[in-house]
């Protein structure tokens, strides 16, 4: 448990990282470094997006699966590491 905290702190201290959210398979945030309203917003929206992305990948090839999702926008980058039951979302501003 302490290792989880330590790892989160290490990621948070990386250059440009704005926030980290861990969401479970139902879209409920488990752990977050952002404020409540942003967390809920990110959790809900990204959960839907990951579901869509995963189903897209599997529809094209049923034996394939989604391993990583990166959304690069003008202002920042959202990185999602999905799993069967959870996903880890990190928001980074790469120009920092």
């Amino acid at each position: 448990m302490a290792e989880v905290e330590e790892t989160l702190r290490r990621i948070q201290s990386q250059k440009g990282v704005q926030g980290i959210v861990i969401v479970n398979s139902e879209g409920i945030p488990i752990k977050t470094t952002l404020d409540n309203s942003s967390t809920v917003q990110y959790a809900g929206l990204i959960h839907q997006l990951v579901m869509k992305a995963r189903s897209t990948v599997r529809d094209i090839d049923p034996q394939n699966d989604l391993t990583f999702l990166r959304i690069r926008s003008k202002k920042n980058e959202i990185m999602i590491a999905p799993d069967k039951d959870y996903f880890l979302i990190v928001i980074q501003n790469p120009s920092d």
């Binding site: 990621i11 809900g44 003008k74 590491a81 880890l88």
Partner: protein
């Protein structure tokens, strides 16, 4: 309900059909009983809809349970490893070398890139609860910055006056040198021709000298607390002159100006009372020497006026008064960017009246008044390299950069410090690419200024000549209108 009865009579020949008599019958309408085809037990579809409307939350215990579970830990280990690798890669795949990207970002993003905080300096023991009173960059080592602080009311046993030398070059967050003294330090600076000395002017009127060669944190030399020296707070200290002939000039708020030799601080070499019209002593809050001038200087006072004065000669003392501000003058800066055209007659002053005014020593009325701030402006300084650029800071935590060649109505770049502490001092580094600001919470922040703002192009000087000519014209027109 009406029941129509049509009698169809099968008769040969013409059939005559007619309406039969209506018989009213009172049957209650038949109820159509329908059974709902939906299931009564909740299914997947229904709960999904619910969740969209009201996101369920897990209790703290549930969250803790999840965090301890085996599958979460294995997911997290894998996920965090990948994410850390991705974060470490600094490649921006979308970078456009043609610069078309940057044109779009002229708005917000440009403003962000114009002034970025590079370092923030504070120390738990020495700067907490103290206010930054003065900042100065070292002329010999461009990475050194001295900041002076006043007293910490919460810690009466700690020394009242502190001056810390911060180093920009290394990543460590602790000061290079810690100096302190018994009275609050109101102004401080590196001695220009003595790289090891830091001069401080204090609230008690004493001028102190610290030396980084000695191991002491207390001053190595102090001026006497006597009527020959200063007895009022010293807000301005400055070393002027050349390598061989230099003096430390200090002015206190009772209008007394003393010049000292750094070798001997036991008595001033020269002293002068700055009085206006033989009677009114000038309460000096700020002082500035024009570039390469050791005799003439400008001072700003609490009564809102700026005065020019000279040190030597038959007319030593206050020469002229420049009236224009409606509140005490907080900062003065003389134009110092050397270039093809000489603008050393220009200076700017900041004041409690929310404005920064541009003056020329050739005229006692202000050339222009910059009125964009909405609060006391605490300090202003010309850029040492760009002829039309200056910075100012105010009470609401805003740092503004004005480029007069671009726009004289609004600042070219502006940044607000989060938490809105009052910014007390602003100092450009000697390279003109960095700005240091000190605030009321003891924090010193160093900002990197974007290249497109701080680096002057070759024609900046000629453009500034034109800008000045326009400003002068506008001022003359405004006066004619006012007088007419």
């Amino acid at each position: 309900m009406f029941i129509f009865i049509i009698i169809c009579v099968c008769r040969r020949g013409a059939v005559r059909l007619g309406m039969s008599k209506l018989t009213q019958v009172d049957f209650v309408p038949r109820e159509m009983v329908s059974y709902s085809k939906e299931t009564q037990t909740p299914t997947e579809a229904m709960t999904q809809a619910d969740q969209k409307d009201t996101p369920k939350e897990l209790t703290e215990e549930e969250k803790l349970q999840v965090l301890h579970s085996e599958e979460f830990l294995s997911f997290f280990e894998r996920g965090s490893r990948i994410v850390e690798r991705v974060l470490a890669e600094q490649v921006d795949v979308c970078f456009d070398y043609s610069g078309r990207d940057l044109e779009d970002k002229e708005g917000d993003l440009q403003a962000g890139a114009k002034l970025v905080v590079n370092r923030q300096f504070a120390d738990e023991r020495w700067t907490k609860n103290r206010v930054v009173t003065c900042l100065d960059w070292s002329p010999q080592y461009p990475e050194l910055l001295v900041a002076s602080y006043n007293n910490n009311e919460d810690a009466p046993h700690e020394p009242d006056g502190v001056a810390l030398v911060w180093n920009m070059k290394y990543k460590k967050g602790t000061p290079e040198y810690i100096f302190h003294c018994q009275s609050e330090v109101m102004s401080a600076g590196f001695a220009k021709f003595h790289p090891n000395l830091v001069v401080g002017g204090t609230y008690s009127g004493q001028i102190v000298l610290w030396d980084n060669r000695s191991n002491k944190r207390t001053p190595v030399q102090r001026t006497p607390l006597s009527a020959a020296a200063h007895t009022h707070p010293v807000y301005c200290v400055n070393v002027v002159g050349t390598q061989n002939a230099n003096n430390l000039i200090s002015i206190s708020t009772d209008g007394k100006m003393c010049s000292w030799s750094l070798d001997m601080l036991s008595q001033p070499q020269d002293s002068l009372e700055l009085v206006f019209k033989q009677s009114k002593a000038v309460a000096v809050t700020s002082m500035a020497f024009p570039l390469a001038d050791v005799n003439n200087f400008v001072v700003g006072s609490e009564d809102g006026s700026v005065y020019t004065a000279c040190r030597h000669g038959s007319k030593a003392g206050i020469t002229e008064v420049f009236e224009g501000h409606h509140g005490p003058v907080t900062g003065l800066s003389c134009h110092s960017a050397g270039g093809p055209v000489d603008f050393s007659h220009l200076f700017i002053s900041s004041s409690f009246d929310w404005t920064v005014k541009l003056w020329s020593t050739k005229s006692t009325r202000p050339l222009y008044s910059f009125e964009d701030c909405c609060d006391y402006v605490y300090d202003a300084m010309w850029s040492p390299t760009h002829p039309a650029l200056f910075a100012c800071v105010d009470l609401s935590g805003r740092l503004d950069l004005w480029n007069l060649n671009n726009d004289t109505e609004v600042p070219t770049a502006s940044v607000s410090v989060e938490g809105s502490p009052a910014l007390n001092r602003v100092r450009w580094s000697h390279s003109g690419k960095e700005i240091a600001t000190g605030d009321s919470e003891g924090q010193v922040r160093v900002y990197d200024v974007g290249e497109q703002i701080c680096v002057p192009k070759a024609d900046e000087w000629t453009r500034f000549v034109r800008t000045l000519a326009e400003i002068n014209e506008n001022r003359d027109e405004a006066e004619e209108l006012a007088n007419a």
